[in-house]
């Protein structure tokens, strides 16, 4: 028999198990917040149950053993033999975390169990009433030389899909089968014409000769419990007694199938090398859309090649049409392909109910969490990386933003604070907002801290927004007293850096006494940007459209030199530094006179600079190719792309260039 390589299903198992744990967590948290919906308990049970089944099937014995005890506990809850209380939910949440860890370790080919999981398993097992120690299968080796069997089918036997013939075949496989007598039962109708062929009215007296184990015999009849009357006695014993429906000891039949195979452990470990390949689950509708687009593209292609085969000028119009269609197809195909990588942000949001609950307990605060826009879709890479910065912002909001219940009451606010996570589209950006109705930023303290850290001078006048900006400065921490949540040296500057790495920006608005709103703006995708193609000397540079404020031609006298040797120009009531791209990137033969070039005003994180380029070529969507992967990281350049004429253009990293400009402004 061909062996089946089960490792191909491991990845699916890991993914569905993680999803199951997420569902379990959501259900546990719903129970925790007072819901009595019994379906929640079923959901939790089902998740544990599936993981147990899968883990055992695919040979992850540690995980199967752990989920087995968890499931036993859940079974007690499901059958209402155990009440749900906060302690139980805590324990189950801890078990869930433990399982997540076990899954991660297993998917990386490491042993799943560790001291923590073993301790937790023991704790669970202790709790399970009358711990379900597996009942040792009774030694059931037949001493007899055979068995006398009386087997009477009940009329409905055939309707359960069973067949007496199967029984005879299997008995024959065990030993020599002798049919002493076959008879028609009393249930048979007297009139043959009334006989229903779907009903069975037969019985048999059989003898099975040979040293057959009782367990093997029971296994033959195990599916027939309730479908037949059965009496089994060892041969040479008293003749078969009056027929009683004997409950077949099913338990004896199953141990063979339940043997946990330690040998499978090795398979699991060896196949774990290709563990987390990173796959993505895509909705069928997205794939269908893709195939649809593909079909249209093929039609366009054949139309164009048809034109190309016998081309003359009279067909110019058709060629134009064809090309326009090709452009449309390409764009739609591109959208569809991009959509494959898009996943709802709900998967990130889902971590927060748990985090909020834990923080509430730890800090003694009361928080109501509201989630909006869970279905907003984000690029998978962005989605994976946005979690940490968001966790940090949520922690901060609860730790520093929301007040203790008594303070809130004193301020005339409800004791329970509200934390809102919201995601929505805005143009080609995704906006994620984290808002709280807490005390708002403490401008006095921020300012004092910034002065103390030497970030600003005590005399410098600062607007509220400028003060708020200070918290994103490296090394800034507002906590007067470092709690064990924040003050770990990871400040808001790290949040901003992480978001920037994703091509996004983060800012804060705050009103004293009313709360703060942190806004993260993220690009829809990291793979493609809308860019403005510019030339600098013989080179081409692409400036991301999203960061462009305005492009303008300046007269020569509009630019002034600063004491430090930098150049600035006046733009809408502020002086912006000029960055000569030819200078920054060392391009030869570029326009050096300001009045002959174009100044592109760009903005990043509220800071603006003017970039001097030779001329503007046009807009283009650029598929970003990583420079780091092919060459090395270059300051001020975020990647490269291929422009329409086939040459390579570099994509300007506006954030990097702005930081460059700020340095020259400060100088």
């Amino acid at each position: 028999m061909a062996t089946v390589d089960l490792s191909q299903f491991h990845q699916t198992f890991f993914e569905e198990s993680r999803e199951g744990l997420d569902a379990m967590e959501a259900a546990l948290l719903a129970l925790d917040s007072g819901s009595t919906d019994h379906e929640l308990v079923h959901t939790i049970f089902r998740a544990a149950h599936s993981i147990k089944g899968g883990a055992a099937t695919f040979g992850f014995a540690d995980m199967a053993a752990f989920t087995h005890v968890a499931e036993s506990l859940l079974e007690e809850v499901r059958s209402e033999r155990r009440a749900v209380d906060a302690g139980l939910i805590d324990l189950l949440l801890r078990s869930l975390d433990c399982l997540r860890g076990m899954l991660d370790r297993t998917s990386h080919g490491q042993p799943a169990a560790d001291a923590g999981s073993e301790a937790l398993r023991a704790e669970l097992a202790q709790l399970v009433a009358g711990a379900t120690a597996p009942v040792a299968a009774k030694a059931s080796v037949a001493a007899a030389t055979g068995w006398a069997i009386r087997f009477v089918a009940l009329p409905h036997l055939l309707q359960t899909g069973n067949d007496p013939l199967r029984v005879f075949n299997e008995l024959q496989a065990l030993g020599r089968l002798e049919v002493l007598r076959a008879f028609v039962t009393e249930s048979a109708p007297a009139d043959f014409a009334m006989l229903d062929p779907g009903q069975c009215h037969l019985g048999w007296e059989l003898r099975l000769h040979g040293a057959v184990a009782r367990a093997d015999l029971d296994a033959v009849f195990d599916w027939l419990d309730g479908d037949c009357e059965l009496a089994i006695a060892p041969l040479a014993a008293a003749p078969v007694e009056a027929v009683v429906a004997t409950p077949v000891p099913v338990a004896a039949a199953t141990p063979a199938a339940e043997t946990p195979a330690p040998a499978r452990e090795a398979t699991a470990a060896s196949s774990a090398g290709h563990a987390d390949g990173g796959s993505i689950r895509v909705g069928i509708d997205k794939v269908d859309a893709l195939i649809d687009m593909m079909g249209e593209l093929v039609i366009t292609q054949s139309m164009l090649s048809d034109i190309g085969e016998h081309f003359d000028l009279s067909q110019l119009e058709r060629l134009r049409e064809g090309l326009a269609q090709l452009e449309r197809n390409t764009r739609e195909l591109q959208d569809s392909v991009m959509r494959i990588r898009m996943l709802p942000i709900g998967s990130v949001f889902n971590r927060f109910p748990r985090l909020v609950r834990d923080l509430e307990r730890k800090l003694g605060k009361q928080v109501r969490l509201e989630l909006h826009g869970e279905h907003t879709e984000l690029d998978k890479t962005v989605l994976e990386k946005i979690g940490d910065p968001m966790v940090h912002l949520v922690r901060n909001a609860i730790d520093h933003g929301l007040e203790m219940p008594e303070q809130r009451r004193a301020a005339g606010k409800p004791e329970t604070g509200t934390l809102t996570l919201d995601a929505h589209h805005e143009g080609s950006n995704i906006i994620v907002r984290i808002s709280d109705d807490g005390a708002g930023l403490n401008h006095e303290r921020i300012r004092a801290k910034a002065v103390e850290r030497g970030l600003v001078s005590a005399a410098q006048p600062l607007s509220d927004d400028e003060v708020a900006e200070l918290i994103f400065q490296p090394g800034f921490s507002t906590a007067a007293q470092a709690t064990d949540l924040s003050g770990r040296g990871v400040g808001m500057d790290v949040v901003r850096r992480n978001v920037r790495d994703l091509g996004g920006s983060v800012g804060v608005k705050s009103v004293a006494g009313q709360g703060s709103v942190f806004t993260i703006a993220l690009p829809l995708t990291l793979a493609i940007i809308d860019g403005l193609v510019t030339t600098v000397g013989a080179e081409r540079y692409i400036v991301p459209l999203i960061s462009i404020v305005e492009s303008l031609r300046l007269p020569a006298d509009a630019v002034r030199r600063t004491a430090g040797g930098g150049e600035v120009f006046r733009f809408r009531d502020e002086y912006l530094p000029v960055i000569r791209l030819h200078h920054a990137f060392g391009c030869a033969d570029a326009v050096t006179a300001i009045e002959r070039g174009i100044v592109v005003v760009v903005e990043d994180g509220g800071q603006r600079v003017g970039l001097l380029v030779d001329e503007l070529v046009g807009q283009q969507q650029a598929v970003i190719k990583s420079l780091e992967k092919h060459y090395q990281q270059v300051q001020g350049v975020s990647g490269a792309t291929i422009v329409s004429d086939g040459s390579v253009a570099l994509i300007v990293d506006v954030g990097g260039v702005v930081r460059l400009g700020r340095r020259s402004k400060a100088a």
Partner: protein, 120 residues
Amino acid sequence: MAKILAVDDSASMRGMVAFTLRGAGHEVTEAENGQLALDAAGGSAFDLVLADVNMPVMDGISMVRALRAKPEYKGVPILMLTTESHTEKKMEGKAAGATGWLVKPFDPEQLLATVKRVLG
């Protein structure tokens, strides 16, 4: 070879069952829960149904009951794939009309042996 309907909400289990049976030459239709299985069963005749017990939307036991209510599924073998090692759950399945069961975890060989046992 036989036409088999495999019903399980777990993609990995379903995948394993379907892959194994296809490898043995059977024609396998997959369904994610009892309701979808009923829909599939309405459209085509199967020689064997393998169904998980715990599933969302419609569990395996309700599915068996609904299948058995259809005249064309009166005598078709239906096996429950179950981790329930205790008897009550199996009996509940039997009472609903299941032919028998296969206890999880099972490996491909055990699956094929059981299928052979029913289909002959």
